[in-house]
Symmetry: C2
Amino acid sequence: MNQDAEDVDGTDEDAVQQAREEVIQALERSAEVYGLNQSYGRLYGILFFENEPLSLDGLVEESGYAKSTVSTAMQKMNRLHLVHRRSVPGEGKKVFYEAETDFWHVIQKFLQHEVRREIDVMTRALDSAAERLEDADGEQADAYLERVESLRTMYDRSERLLGILTSSSIERLTGLLDRLQRD
Amino acid sequence: MNQDAEDVDGTDEDAVQQAREEVIQALERSAEVYGLNQSYGRLYGILFFENEPLSLDGLVEESGYAKSTVSTAMQKMNRLHLVHRRSVPGEGKKVFYEAETDFWHVIQKFLQHEVRREIDVMTRALDSAAERLEDADGEQADAYLERVESLRTMYDRSERLLGILTSSSIERLTGLLDRLQRD
DNA sequence: CATCATATTCGGTGTATTCCGAATGTTCTG
DNA sequence: CAGAACATTCGGAATACACCGAATATGATG
């Protein structure tokens, strides 16, 4: 195929955008695996391929979603630490977003916020339930107490594990786990 | 407070059921944290406090949900390895369920099915995109390729980590991580 | 402090999900 | 193989959610 420079550029441009779209679609699917909306995957993907922070209007333009949709989606992704808000000097109050590319960091934040809270709530419930059951008599009470305590033990372990996971870099962890595997 | 045996029994029974209900409600909340429906938390909780496998009708009776609701919920929880189906000898084809109490096992199964598939799909997309981008020219193509490769690197690391996590018992992992922390 | 640019929130609409009761399958048993 | 005892699937109603466009709030700037 002989094509002049102009034609080649056009073809390449298509291929480049197709490659980008392919990855973005995979990200849409991944988002759903982890219980997030498809649209989050796309918005994240758009940011991922951008080399500078992108404004809300930029995201609206590239995604085709309404501004209100993008605004709320970015708020939620920001809470999940999947994206960061940045202010750009000289651009007034305009907000810019960039993608967090370190997924381990995202997971750590999820662990130390959502999971931590879940563990706290459950732990309080288990303590309270155990107290009631200790005061009560009967085999039912004993049987329930045993279960509650075993769950309590499990949550205690989880809590310790959580502490370790949220305070170690991924390099340290993978290094350690590699050693583990070789044992 | 002087109460005779009858009264004390009644009060204890109340307290015992209240303790159980308290934990079940915490489980309902936990289910929602991890993107599952409240009803799953309750059904799981009912099983958790049962000392023998419980039939579908038993779950219907204890939960108050319709049988169809319980049936589909249990199928889904079974897929997630949160509960197990058991057949009880002499009970014909009746299905019985019991709760899986080892949460690490549940997580491992999730990793080796859902996450593994997610990684595979993404990896294929990244390979295909990289191929297209290598064939193309221009700074856009170069910039995109760099991002695609970095994501690819991240997924490669995740894949190795996944292999380690899905093949180690929680005891081994916590033991190792405890050592890590002391370093 | 008024105006402009921008982000957020609100109310409505269409779509997906949850749950129900009824209908249908499926498997064991006489 | 007929019927009983189940589980599963189906269709529909109520509810929750995503998305939109319009209205409102917030912050920057002259």
